[in-house]
């Protein structure tokens, strides 16, 4: 098999990468390129579809098929592509502006339909390409050229939006951890149906180090909790702290002297959205920020549904000749 011999290099295009030096996008690109050979999918069957934004330049750097579309619409274009060619492996690359501002609605609908595309949302909490305006994930009070006195817009949480959109696979990862990205991407690629992955990404120019408090090496273990299926939600450099549910509220505590409540065990497969919503409510600094797979449930795929209807229709009406089509109503003859 030809594809078995592919390497990361095969997925690097000949285009010069044009992100700012230090941009988190480089690490994400490297992670994706290193994951590609492991998918078992031939290069020509892989397509990257993106919107507009720094992040959305992504397809140019992948030596696969690529479509750099228009702002916010990548999920819709990917939908049409995937419906027409269900055996392609389609990735969507988008940003917090592209995916949650102008493109919020398409994101919602592609997820609820469970189209089998993998959506990578690069969240740098800012509009990079247009030079630094606040985005839907920017913090309240964030000062930018378009919000010189601070943003008044309550930020949204991409994970919560994805869950409300009935996404069947929802995860979060971060540019500072290639290994975590790689694993997360592989899980997403293996999932049948839509996969939504928020990637925390550092925009060194317009929102420098915004996630450092959370994910820098020396604080990471205290400020993040890595979700592992079947494992308790444990964190801390010594893995000595846990996340507990007490009534309707979450809190952290030491494992040795646990607080009131129940230590959570990670169950991404729960059909009910309740548990995943619980995790999605965890935000730093009140709680450690969860990364990993929040939810992963089987759901019927849309493409299969469409193909199924076509097959069923053909069984019922096997005759698809034009003559039959033309004569399908009342007809008469003029002699």
């Amino acid at each position: 098999m030809a594809e078995a011999t592919l390497t990361k290099k095969d997925f690097q295009s000949d285009q010069i990468v044009r992100w700012c030096p230090g941009c988190g996008d480089y690490a994400i690109l490297a992670a994706i390129q290193s994951v590609m050979p492991n998918l078992g999918v031939p290069k020509e069957k892989i397509v990257f579809v993106s919107g507009i934004g720094c992040s959305s330049r992504f397809p140019y750097y992948m030596n696969t098929y690529g479509f750099h579309t228009i702002h916010g619409r990548a999920p819709a274009i990917a939908t049409g592509l995937k419906l027409s060619n269900p055996d392609l492996q389609v990735f969507v690359v988008t940003g917090d502006g592209d995916g949650l501002s102008i493109g919020g609605n398409h994101l919602l609908h592609v997820l609820r339909r469970n189209i089998d595309v993998k959506i990578l949302l690069f969240n740098n909490k800012v509009y990079g390409l247009t030079k630094g305006q606040y985005s839907p994930t920017s913090d309240l009070g964030f000062k930018t050229k378009s919000s010189p006195m601070g943003s008044l817009d309550q930020p949204i949480n991409p994970i919560r939006i994805a869950l409300a959109s009935e996404a069947s696979f929802v995860a979060r990862t971060y540019d500072a951890n290639i290994k975590h990205m790689t694993e997360t991407f592989e899980k997403a690629a293996a999932h049948k149906g839509s996969a939504f992955i928020e990637i925390l990404q550092n925009c060194v120019i317009f929102n420098k180090d915004v996630f450092n408090d959370i994910y820098e090496r020396d604080v990471r273990s205290d400020h993040m909790v890595h979700l592992e299926e079947g494992e308790p939600l444990v964190f801390g450099a010594e893995s000595d702290k846990g996340v507990f549910l007490d009534g309707f509220s979450l809190k952290t505590g030491s494992l040795e002297a646990p607080p009131a409540g129940q230590l959570l065990t990670h169950q991404p497969n729960q059909e009910s959205p309740i548990y995943a919503n619980l995790l999605a409510a965890m935000e730093y600094p009140q709680l450690p920020l969860p990364v990993g797979v929040f939810r992963k449930v089987p759901r019927p795929g849309y493409e299969a549904g469409v193909q199924g209807q076509i097959a069923q229709a053909r069984t019922k009406q096997p005759d698809d000749s034009l003559q039959t089509l033309f004569h399908s109503g009342d007809t008469w003859e003029v002699k």
Binding site: E44, N63, L322, L325, F326, H327, T331, W332
Partner: protein, 599 residues
């Protein structure tokens, strides 16, 4: 009688569309040429009995070729006062006015805002008024079935249809068969409708309300098998046909909107042809999904009406830049903004031409009749895929909902068009061009053709992003030339009417029937008038300048404020006389004749 025009009118709930369609099919089957014009109420169901709730269906049937549903009905059926009010002004003087007198109650008169009962105040004297207790008569007719009063009420349209069948000496067979099929599962309703239809016919026969039945003999239509087809049905069938001819599946991305929704409904019924209909979350997603499918190698179509085109503009430009084949159907309605959704208009032509940022040439086609909706659906895909370019197909509410007999083609007679995808190769150049300037259609999944496209300006040949000034000029020119050169691939503009005419009546799209009839009429009266009708607007046919130059006087008639006129003036440096109408209504033949006579 050579031809006759009937208009059925009643409340939305009275089944007038159904009655009209039955009469149409029977007449068509009989061999008449026909043309119909359904006139729906605005989309909200207005309160029963009010003028906004009136639904109408006009049919013109004839022993010779006809091209319009008729200006003014010879016969008007009015099921209630509101229907009378909404339609009586159109009835020709001396016309037959059949009225359900049972519906002329105080309440209904008030709902229709009649102060006095028009049946009693002499205001209808110039017509041959025939009031009949239609409700009562229908009730009596269906009594044996024991159905409820409400159910019985709903049969009165068949009673009225029966009367009309008698009056025009039509055979009941087709409608009886239809009733059997339609209501097969509810025997008493089936029986009731049967009884109502027969009773209407017999009542007309025995009561001698009419002096005699009229004869509108069969027309001398070309031999063949026929069916009746609306523009919306035709266009859907055309797209499926294109897909079969090309051997590529059809993908339709759409979002419901009046009057285009029926194309979605029609295509959705044809999954067994491999058709995929995708009801998107909005028009933007609909066109984007279609672009995705075009990229994926499908015959990609998106359809909507005017306001939806606004929303699709940005994405259509992406298709222009990426040079993907995309067909955009616009079933035009009266604008601007929401406008009058159920009414017809031709005012989206310049939007199709120029409604996008930048220099953004697309092909623009406009079928002239319901039947041409079929052929132009195929033509749209032939051009889109051959030239790798978005193609607008401009239909309108009038031809979309109007029906005419359609001679069923033989598969062998249909146009062929071949589609070739790029094949695996070394050093693939996604923006190389063939001799008609099309770039290769490289479908994901093809080994070795991995490449990137997008909305930024593309470098010639490589397709990489390019900000080079000369390249931008070159690519802009290519995009324009590609469309301009299609001139060589389409038929020339044809002239109909008097070959020695000095006046040329020019139109485009759905007004053909009225313009053609007006020219015929003028010629009969010895007036030296000819006509030319544009189906190809961008590019115009190659001989356009030459044809226009032949005439002393050019008259442009269109259902807008002068959009084709504008294009012709700008491109061909001509002066014109103009007849513009923006009323949400098709042209009446009379209006055109009067205009020509007054020149």
């Amino acid at each position: 009688m050579e031809s006759a025009t009937i208009r059925f009118s009643g409340d939305s709930g009275d089944g007038m569309q159904l009655t009209g369609t039955q009469f149409t099919n029977t007449s068509a089957n009989f061999g008449n040429d026909i043309s119909t014009f359904p006139d729906f109420p605005a989309e909200i169901r207005a309160p029963a009995g009010t003028v906004p709730g009136v639904s109408g269906f006009q049919i013109n049937f004839s022993t010779h070729d006809i091209h319009t549903p008729g200006d003014r009905p010879n016969v008007l059926v009015a099921m209630n006062p509101a229907a009378l009010k909404a339609n009586v002004a159109d009835l020709e003087d001396g016309g037959l006015l059949l009225i359900n007198s049972d519906a002329f109650t105080k309440v209904n008169l008030k709902k229709a805002e009649y102060e006095v009962n028009p049946l009693e105040d002499g205001s209808l004297d110039r017509f041959r008024l025939i009031p009949m207790a239609l409700t009562e008569l229908t009730h009596r007719a269906v009594e044996p079935t024991g159905i409820s009063k409400k159910e019985a009420d709903r049969c009165k349209n068949f009673f009225a249809l029966g009367i009309m069948y008698y009056l025009f000496d039509r055979n009941l067979e087709l409608s009886l068969t239809w009733i059997d099929k339609k209501f097969g599962k509810v025997p008493d309703i089936k029986e009731a409708n049967r009884l109502a239809l027969l009773a209407g016919y017999n009542f007309a026969d025995t009561t001698e309300i009419f002096a005699d039945a009229y004869q509108v003999p069969a027309a001398n239509l070309k031999k063949g098998n026929y069916r009746s087809l609306t523009g919306n049905q035709a266009v859907a069938m055309g797209f499926i046909t294109a897909s079969k001819l090309a051997g590529r599946p059809l993908f339709y991305g759409s979002y419901p909107i009046t009057p285009a929704s029926d194309v979605l409904h029609e295509l959705a019924r044809h999954r067994h042809f491999g058709v995929q209909t995708f009801q998107a979350e909005d028009e933007i997603a609909a066109v984007c999904a279609a672009i995705g499918a075009a990229y994926g190698g499908h015959l990609a179509l998106t359809g909507t009406s005017g306001p939806g085109i606004c929303l699709k503009a940005e994405a259509i430009n992406l298709a222009v830049m990426t040079e993907l084949p995309l067909v955009i159907l616009n079933v035009q309605r009266a604008g601007p903004s929401t406008g009058m959704p159920t009414k017809t208009e031709q005012s989206d032509l310049l939007q199709a031409m120029y409604g996008r940022n930048g220099s953004s040439p697309c092909v623009v086609l406009a079928p002239a009749t319901p039947g041409e909706c079929f052929t132009f659906a195929i033509e749209a895909f032939r051009l889109a895929t051959k030239y790798m370019v978005p193609v607008f197909l401009l239909s309108d509410g009038y031809i979309a909902n109007g029906a005419e007999p359609w001679r069923i083609p033989n598969e062998a007679d249909l146009p062929k068009f071949e589609i070739t995808y790029a094949e695996s190769q070394e050093n693939f150049q996604p923006y190389s061009r063939n001799n008609h300037l099309a770039r290769p259609w490289a479908v994901p999944g093809t080994p070795g053709l991995e490449h990137r496209i997008g909305g930024l300006e593309k470098a010639h040949l490589s397709g990489n992003v390019s900000y080079d000034p000369g390249n931008h000029q070159l690519m802009t020119d290519y995009r324009a030339m590609k469309v301009r050169n299609i001139r060589e691939d389409i038929p020339g503009l044809e002239i109909y009417g008097d070959p020695e005419a000095e006046t040329l009546l020019v139109g485009w799209g759905g007004t053909y029937g009225a313009l053609f009839t007006a020219v015929q009429n003028q010629n009969k009266q010895g007036k030296k008038v000819a006509g030319a009708h544009f189906r190809y607007i961008n590019p115009f046919p190659a001989n356009t300048a030459e044809v226009l130059a032949r005439y002393k006087r050019i008259v442009v008639a269109e259902l807008n404020e002068g959009q084709l006129d504008f294009l012709l003036k700008a491109q061909f440096n001509i002066q014109t006389h103009t007849l513009f109408k923006v009323q949400g209504k098709p042209f009446m033949v009379r209006e055109i004749i009067d205009f020509l006579n007054a020149l």
